[in-house]
Amino acid sequence: MDLILFYFRKLFTVVRNEVLVLPSRVVVVLFFLFLLLLPLYTKDPYLLRIFILTSIFAILAASWDLLSGFTGQMNFGHALFFGVGAYAAALLNLRANIPPWGSIPLGALAAVLSGLIIGIPCLRLRGTYLALTTLAFPIVLTGLVFAFPDFTGGELGISGIARLTQSRVTDYYTVVVLMLGLCTIMWKITDSNIGIIFHAIREDEVAVRAAGINTTRYKLLAFSLSGFFAGISGGLYAHFMRIAGPSTLEVSLSFTVVIWAIFGGIVTIYGPVGAVFILFPLLEFLRIVQDYRTLMFAGVVLLILLYMPDGLFHWLRDKIEKECPRCKIRNVATRHTCRVCTAPLD
């Protein structure tokens, strides 16, 4: 009993001293609570469907950020991982009768393998070369899909895949909990030593090599990690939509992932996730003006970029929080002195 009380008090202290002092942390907690409690208020299947798809794409956008944002290896073919994950999960489920909880991780492993396969030639390329080359891989794979229609279903894709779970609400909880968990894992990875090396590779690869770090290994690690998470989102998509078609490999999907991530602000993980949660429902909402939908979407992206070229969430965070010049700890913008070292904030 005392132990429970102790942990309860500890939680209370952490919430009061670490969470409530910063608006961005409060927002994250509210975001978690909102997603977890949403089905208690509404069980509208359409609304839940939008949130499920948003969560799936949030994993995808965050995994792009893990690779391209952190290590600076601009990947314009992220749909490859998504498509490989979706197709592998679908084929395993349909041909080998593996249930979703087995086929999705196996599909993600297939995506890791594809990440290694494309990572090895791409390691020698940098910057724009890399971006333009990675764009090619999903297209080559689409060609293969069309060339073997008996195995891959060709233009129609593979349909008749097992449901993720039996009802919409359990689908919702599976996907949302997975999304929150995976994004937290990604955020933790980028916060660890590996993440610091990823940062350093983006800033100056030669210097990192000179410091005795095998950058090749870390770049391959980034490709496989990103491929794993993107593969999971592909598998979830295939099982939720119950179809894996060539649309999962489209160029426009690769572009959309980049738009989401850069719109939210790269090198953050939370930026791309937040951007998907703004842009994807926005696109759904714009269905009421069907003809102007994509036009307005592109217009919004373009306008926001013009004023916030670093991404929406970087800009917002800088507005509501200040960094202490002495101890580098973040404070609410309304404070005049730092909450830890009491140095004056300007």
Partner: protein, 291 residues
């Protein structure tokens, strides 16, 4: 034999289109380090411009071409000034700004022309026959015009002061600035030149293709493959790479059973294979020093 001629003609036409597009794309990348995903969207706009001028307003095709090139070049320069220049320091933002721009153009065109397939009559009608293969005058015209424009561009870049300024800015922006070259102005002019080339390509190719709002994506992919294959920023590389991939595409279309599906993947596989052997492309300079 007829098949061989067909392949040669197809390869030359494809190659010239890709070469014109890739050179324009390379130019603006070299000078301003902008990866312009909207490049082929300007090509599409020019094609629609000609459709409007000839079919709706009933003008002669030559006036349509001129109007298309001038209008699209102006539009390109305006969108550069208004949308890309303010965020040029942020590479990622520029990338998706150009993607968004291309999407906007595509959507506006599909709102006006409703996504139906349109076509434009040839500038010169008729054909002649070599070894039993019909060669349309329009195909010959497209090929010759492309070669002529590329030659003119070569002379412009190599023999004039402005060309020298463009080449030196591409080599080193800061030093070019120190030598008294107005870098912002050169970037602006290059953007106009690059978009103008895209518009010209659209103008000469439009009678040979079908107009639809999505027509910008297939050439975009091929153009990027050409640029990477030839080496970024290398005009010679773009030229040779364009004909390699143009012929590869024609070969696949005429010889492989699933040609239409496979032409893109085959060309891109060639690009990937070349990159495995030479990571900087056929004629690219290694960017190893650039950090």
């Amino acid at each position: 034999m007829a098949l061989v001629i067909d392949i040669i003609i197809g390869g030359l036409i494809n190659g010239s289109t890709f070469a014109l597009l890739a050179i324009g794309f390379s130019l603006i990348f070299g000078v301003a380090r902008i990866v312009n995903f909207a490049h082929t969207a300007f090509y599409m706009l020019a094609a629609y411009c000609i459709y409007v001028a000839t079919q709706t307003m009933g003008l002669h095709a030559v006036w349509g071409m001129l109007a298309a090139i001038v209008l699209v070049t102006l539009l390109g320069m305006v969108s550069y000034k208004a949308l890309i220049n303010p965020i040029r320091e942020h590479e990622g933002a520029v990338l998706i700004a150009t993607i968004a721009l291309a999407m906007i153009f595509q959507e506006i065109m599909s709102l006006i022309f409703t996504g139906t397939f349109l076509s434009v009559p040839a500038l010169i009608k008729g054909f002649f026959i070599i070894l039993g293969v019909k060669v349309f005058y329009q195909q010959l015209l497209t090929f010759c015009a492309a070669l002529l424009v590329m030659a003119a561009l070569w002379v412009f870049l190599m023999r004039t002061n402005l060309g020298l300024a463009i080449r030196s800015t591409a080599q080193d922006r800061e030093v070019a600035n120190l030598m008294g070259i107005n870098e912002a102005q050169v970037a602006m002019i290059t953007m106009g030149l690059s978009v103008g080339l895209a518009a010209f390509t659209g103008a000469v190719v439009v009678p040979l293709t079908i107009l639809e709002p999505q027509m910008w994506t297939p050439p975009l992919i091929m153009m990027m493959a050409v640029v990477v294959l030839g080496g970024l920023g290398s005009l010679k590389g773009s030229f040779i790479g364009a004909y390699i991939l143009g012929f590869a595409e024609a070969l696949v279309v005429f010889l492989a059973p699933m040609g239409a599906y496979l032409k893109g993947p085959v060309a891109l596989s060639i690009m990937i294979l070349v990159l495995l052997i030479r990571p900087e492309g056929l004629f690219g300079v290694s960017f190893e020093e650039e950090r």
